[in-house]
């Protein structure tokens, strides 16, 4: 058997490779050591609870009663019950309305508009507008929700007093509209700040060129600004869509009422899991929500990647 021998040059050439491969291995080990605590935390606080919820969704586990002491495996019964429940579908539809209305159209649209209008401004007006918008974002949910409940109250509400009308029950007659407007008001600050920073990166020379070429305002936005900040828009959409999807604030405003007309999915899960005590059923609905969130995330990430 002939032994394959390497010429001396090849051996020489291989030496640095071996060296670099050792170094890379050491580097990977070092990186692994540094990353391990974070991975452990992710595993403990994200992966394990998620897997546990998947498992719970397959049991009849309850908050009280005999099934709390001895839960039994029921397979996909909870999932079937969840999707057979008309309340689940109405909650899903209300959540779509909530996300589309307040996050996609409201916060993105309004946040961008404010950022665009304030882009070249300095002085007290800009500070005032920014301050007012950000105030809503930095206040705790419970406090701003309480303020809105007081503002929209049909008997003693400030809004009815300002409009000079009596007995109009905003939260009862138009619960989703009230919640959507609330969420736009509350969440627009984040989008505004993000777009403010993004617009600062649009080269003024490009806009100037477009202006000189006779482009209208809309054409400047469409052909110069949006392509530049496309990544920011998609990242913002992803973040605020997921936040809104999981937002529990509607509970503080209406508790899901009246008659489930504002029972978005986050509230639906709370109602099923903790108010009714059906933890297994609630876990099954949570699993569905997780899947929907994953689909939404993948969709946005694909859009982001398609840019490259």
């Amino acid at each position: 058997m002939a032994l394959a021998t390497s010429p001396p040059e090849a051996a020489e050439a291989a030496r640095p490779d071996r060296y670099s491969s050792d170094a890379a291995g050491l580097g990977r080990l070092r990186a692994g050591v540094f990353v391990a605590p974070a991975l452990l935390l992710v595993a403990v606080f994200l992966v394990f609870p998620a897997l546990w919820v998947l498992y719970l969704g397959l049991t009849n586990y309850r908050l009280t009663g005999a099934a709390a002491a001895a839960p039994q495996f029921v397979g996909p019964a909870n999932l079937i019950e969840a999707v057979s429940n008309p309340e689940f579908w109405s909650s899903t539809w209300l959540t779509v309305e909530f996300v589309a209305g307040s996050a996609v159209i409201g916060q993105v649209g309004l946040g961008f508009t404010i950022a665009w209008l304030l882009r070249d401004r300095r002085g007290p007006l800009k500070r005032l507008v920014e301050g007012l918008v950000i105030l809503a974002w930095i206040l705790p949910s419970a406090i701003v929700s309480f303020l809105w409940v007081a503002l929209l109250d049909r008997d003693a509400g400030t809004l009815n007093a300002l409009l000079g009308i009596q007995g109009f029950a905003w939260l009862l007659d138009h619960p989703m509209l009230s919640i959507i407007v609330f969420n736009i008001w509350r969440g627009t600050a984040f989008s505004m700040m993000l777009y403010g920073a993004a617009l600062g990166n649009v080269p003024p020379s490009h806009l100037e060129s477009a202006r000189l070429a006779g482009a209208s305002g809309w054409q400047q936005l469409r052909d110069v600004v949006f392509p530049h900040i496309r990544g920011h828009i998609l990242t913002n959409l992803l973040l605020i869509s997921l936040w809104t999807f999981n937002d529990f604030t509607p509970f503080l405003l209406t508790a899901g009422g009246p008659d489930g007309k504002s029972e978005v999915l986050a509230v639906h899960v709370y109602k099923v899991a903790l108010q009714s005590g059906e933890l297994g059923h609630g876990a099954a609905v949570s699993t569905i929500i997780l899947l929907i969130n994953l689909v939404v995330a993948v969709f946005y990430l694909r859009l982001l990647r398609s840019k490259k």
Partner: protein, 462 residues
């Protein structure tokens, strides 16, 4: 291990749904030689059930600690206040108990006893504290019906805190304007509707308020559909069978339709998250003519001194009457008048490190001296003990009235674990009717839901 798994399950559900409901009750620690005990109620100084919170803080704790010290024991007691909706309080307690924690002594609604016992959250008192539980001298002073609220499967799980009764409250000033008598006592539902119509024509914004819907929670069942059902001759459960879409259920829901569909009640009030609190405020402000409520309304809501909707002229303005059956003699047991009663229990947490001392603390709060102290200064309530009730209730006409006239004809909810789910289904039925669904349809929907809760049509009376 099983317990730990269950605890992790709760954490997992909360983490995955992004809900941060913190379980704040802590079991006693027992540092050094001192025995540390905690006691919790849905009561908070300056807020909900403030008088109860003040009683525990200002009387029970110092007196109990002193009494224990006299016996040579160093005991420290801490009160854990709470001022939330009863449903939220129940969720918090359940989570505390599920995770093996919670206050050593806790007040619960009597209808939670079955669910909590089935879950292993409560243990029979003799199992926890031995013979002391059976030998407590207070038992001989507590009527059997009241003891029954703390009894599940033949075993005592807690100490009863008291009982209550339901009546129709009315505003005498509004009644006078509408030409109705100050000593009003309707003898049928029609007479209530007639009074409502007169109040309406005299300009009263909300002539009648009978709790409906899920936003009111158990208040809808206790101060709404259950007394009406009893008035129509029905019981939510009888001889092990549940009442479905029976005629009595349709009649009870029919009254809701006449009130909320006929402009005599405010259906929106039934849908608001804080609708019950708002109804209290409206009654106190003279906007509601007739309100069906428990004696808590008199003691804790319109109480001139400690109420959440104080009425300085309560004793002159607020009248009360027994709840009539649909027609004379048509109520349960052939009665002319009906009521529902409930009550709270004071339970010892099986997770307590010092169950014997915890039981002593619970019993101490229900000593004759404790009850007399608690009910001082206008904070009168019907206590569980007959040996002090007469003295306590003297000079308190409403509670004497309830004690003497209402309690003999009252009814209790079935002490079974599944009742709270049935109650929610009842609340949904009333919500549907207040929202415009015909009573027959709402009753049929209720029966369908009931079948799923109680294990099929075989458990429902035909």
């Amino acid at each position: 291990m099983a317990l730990r798994k269950r605890s992790m399950g709760v954490v997992a559900v909360l983490a995955a749904t992004g809900l941060g409901l913190a379980a704040c009750g802590q079991s006693s620690g027992g540092g050094g030689d001192a025995i540390e005990l905690t006691i919790t109620q849905n009561a908070i100084a300056g807020g909900k059930n403030a008088a109860g919170a003040d009683f525990i803080t200002n009387w029970v704790i110092p007196k109990f600690e002193a009494a224990q010290k006299a016996k040579g024991k160093d005991v420290k007691v801490k009160f854990i206040p709470s001022g939330v909706d009863d449903e939220q309080y129940k969720t918090k307690l359940s989570l505390d108990l599920k995770s093996g924690k919670g206050a050593d002594v806790m007040d619960i609604d009597s209808i939670w006893a079955g669910e909590f016992a089935d879950a292993g959250y409560l243990k029979p008192l003799p199992d926890l504290v031995g013979a002391d539980a059976d030998n407590w001298d207070g038992w001989s002073q507590i009527p059997e019906a009241v003891q029954g609220m703390a009894t599940f499967n033949g075993k005592k799980y807690a100490l009863p805190v008291g009982t209550d009764g339901r009546v129709l409250y009315f505003n005498k000033t509004l009644f006078q304007k509408a030409g109705l008598p100050a000593d009003w006592q309707p003898k049928s539902w029609q007479e209530i509707l007639d009074a409502g119509a007169k109040l309406k024509s005299s300009g009263v914004p909300v002539p009648i308020q009978i709790n409906a819907g899920t936003a009111m929670g158990e208040a809808t069942s206790m101060q709404g559909v259950l007394p009406l059902l009893a008035g129509a001759g029905g019981e939510v459960q009888k001889d092990g069978k549940w009442t479905g879409a029976s005629q009595s259920m349709k009649d009870a829901l029919g009254l809701y339709q006449k009130i909320y569909g006929g402009g005599l009640g405010d259906p929106k009030l039934q849908q608001e998250a804080k609708g019950r609190d708002k109804s209290f405020q409206q009654f106190a402000a003279g906007k509601i003519g007739i309100l069906m409520e428990g004696d808590y309304f008199w003691r804790g809501v319109v109480n001139p001194k400690t109420g959440v909707a104080k009425m300085a002229d309560r004793d002159q303005v607020v009248g009360y009457a027994m709840i009539p059956a649909m027609e004379p003699g048509k109520g349960i047991r052939g009665q002319d008048f009906v009521s529902m009663s409930g009550g709270a229990l004071r339970a010892v947490n099986p997770n307590s490190k010092h169950p014997k001392e915890a039981f002593e603390l619970a019993a101490f709060t229900l000593s004759p001296e404790g009850l007399k102290e608690e009910t001082k200064g206008g904070n009168v309530r019907i206590t569980p003990r007959t040996d002090v009730n007469k003295e306590i209730l003297a000079g308190e006409p409403l509670l004497t009235y309830i004690s003497e006239k209402v309690l003999p004809l009252t009814a209790y909810r079935p002490p079974v674990a599944v009742y709270p789910q049935v109650s929610v289904a009842l609340q949904e039925a009333t919500a549907a009717v207040a929202g415009g669904t015909p009573p027959d349809q709402a009753a049929a929907d209720y029966q369908k839901k009931l079948e799923g809760i109680v294990g099929g049509a075989g458990n429902i009376a035909s």
